[in-house]
Amino acid sequence: MNISPTEAEESLAAIQSVTQKTRRSIANSGAYIFLIITGSVWLVGFLATQFLSGPIVAYLWIGASVLGSALSIPLGTRQARRVRSPSLSPTAQRAITFWLLLILYGIAAIAVAKPDDGKQVTMFIVLFLMLGQLSMGMLLSFSATWWALPITVLALVGYFLLPGIFYLWMGILVGGGMIILGMYIHFRW
């Protein structure tokens, strides 16, 4: 079988294109679920924090978080059916260990810093969560986690420049932004 160098070049380009698309698609398959569910929880929780007071705020946060967790299980399972692995890969094991350690470090940082108010606690959680996403991107696929950078910037802008409407900002712009971004990745990417 003989082909020209141009045909060889085209075949190599086709292989590279499919390889990149497959890697990106698999990496993003979980990202959109995380974005939509987390965005929805933040939208409900932060709007409640901005406009309501008393125990109802805590109940709404807990309710939205429980509902989000309950939804993420069947949706995550459905995504997992796209690619089946005979066992948990070493990369997945390292990622799980990393997240567990990051959560412990986050709790330790909050305990040491003793934040003055809910805004500071919120920023600690957002910064650790987005740092985790970006770290995963550095290890696995940056194209799947780049969105953590603009979300971090938006959260910092709200915290430093708009303290009066910080929770409204976090709910609508950051929470809503995550929902829209998740839908964009799912339907258009």
């Binding site: 079988m1 003989n2 082909i3 020209s4 160098p5 141009t6 060889a8 070049e9 075949s11 190599l12 086709a14 292989i15 499919v18 390889t19 698309k21 497959t22 890697r23 698609s25 698999i26 059916r81 796209r82 690619v83 089946r84 692995s85 005979p86 066992s87 890969s89």
Partner: protein, 99 residues
Amino acid sequence: MAELNETIHQPVRLRIMAALITLDTGDEVDFKYLRHLLGVTDGNLGAHLRKLEEAGYIIVNKVFVERKPHTYISATAAGRTAFQEHITALESIFKNKVG
């Protein structure tokens, strides 16, 4: 010197193998997801998968998940080796042009 593989070189089969090789060894991809990734029809994908299966380059695994039939595809060790040799041959031809 590695030689071109006629079975793999067909454009759709080349893209199928490229997608499967991207997965970790032993991982299986769902038929519908593979069809979505490659943008081909059911019939077209099925026909090319049969060719690759006959050559021993892939394994087609039909299972029931929650009482629904699912077809999973994975690359065999022979398929991975053949695909790697095909890439080496392509690179060799391309380098001749550049060199």
